[in-house]
């Protein structure tokens, strides 16, 4: 394993820490790496001495959690005054972002369902058209009615062709709805962790 690979794993593992803390840890190991190289140690040996990147990162995370939990009580007191402002921000966020987003997701879902059903509606309409003019043909006869039946059958056929296409569109609409949900969830979780 090269140092870059080690550092990549280390950095990824530290992603939950604030940027300043992460940069500090990365700087510490980069400095040691440089000094060890200058002292004639090989890259592979340095990486071996550093040990598992995840373990090294976990030690830093544990130490950071420990130090922040000690300061926890004072920070809780400091942030207690912000609770009302945070609640107001949450309400505004829900009203101006959450509600419109929910409306968009709902509309997309309804559009998807309607699209899916419209394919069957075209088939049904075509069949109804055929039945209606078949009855007309039986009762009164004539080439005009036969032509109308043909049109009805064609409509039903077009409907049958449209069903898979609409089904495909519906599937993607629902996937889009799901992705919007997941992305929103990630954004909210990210903000919580940052806080």
């Amino acid at each position: 394993m090269t140092y870059r690979q080690w550092e990549k794993t280390f950095k990824k593992r530290l992603s939950r820490l604030p940027k300043e803390e992460r940069e500090r840890a990365l700087g510490y190991y980069a400095e040691l790496y440089g000094d060890k190289l200058d002292a004639g140690t090989s890259e592979s040996e340095i990486v071996r001495e550093f040990g598992d990147a995840k373990d090294a990162a976990d030690k830093i995370i544990a130490e950071y959690s420990e130090s922040t939990s000690v300061q926890g009580k004072t920070s809780v007191q400091r942030t207690a005054g912000d609770t009302a402002a945070r609640a107001a921000a949450a309400v505004l966020l829900f009203l101006f972002v959450g509600l419109p987003l929910l409306a968009v997701i709902f509309c997309l879902a309804v559009a998807g369902a309607a699209l899916f059903l419209s394919g069957f509606a075209v088939i049904l309409a075509g069949v109804a058209y055929v039945v209606y003019f078949l009855v007309q043909l039986c009762m009164f006869g004539g080439a005009g009615y036969a032509a109308q039946i043909g049109i009805g059958l064609a409509a039903a056929g077009v409907g049958a062709l449209l069903v898979p296409l609409f089904l495909y569109c519906t599937k993607w609409l629902f996937i889009a709805c799901g992705k919007i949900f997941v992305l929103t969830g990630r954004v909210v979780r990210g903000k919580r962790e940052a806080n």
């Binding site: 700087g27 510490y28 190991y29 400095e31 130490e63």
Partner: protein
Amino acid sequence: MDAQLKKGLLDVCVLAVLRRGESYGYKIIADVAPYIEISESTLYPILKRLESSGAVTAHSREFNGRLRKYYAITEKGQQRILEFIEDVKEFERIYEFILQGGNL
């Protein structure tokens, strides 16, 4: 050795090394390692703890085209060493007491 005891000892060992003059990560490990087991991942939290408690100060300086962080002991750090020496004296009395089976 007990983890908490070792933690405290390492803090003082690092401070003792810095008593000779300012130093940096790699050299601190090299100076402390012959006396007590210390690794790169162990030193990082020690330096951070000592810095945040005001026992050491740190500043970065360019070396060979890259940045190196140098640490220097403060008055508070010196005081910490003296407190540790006093603690050890007390430990010695307790040690003797334990060794004599509680009969001094």
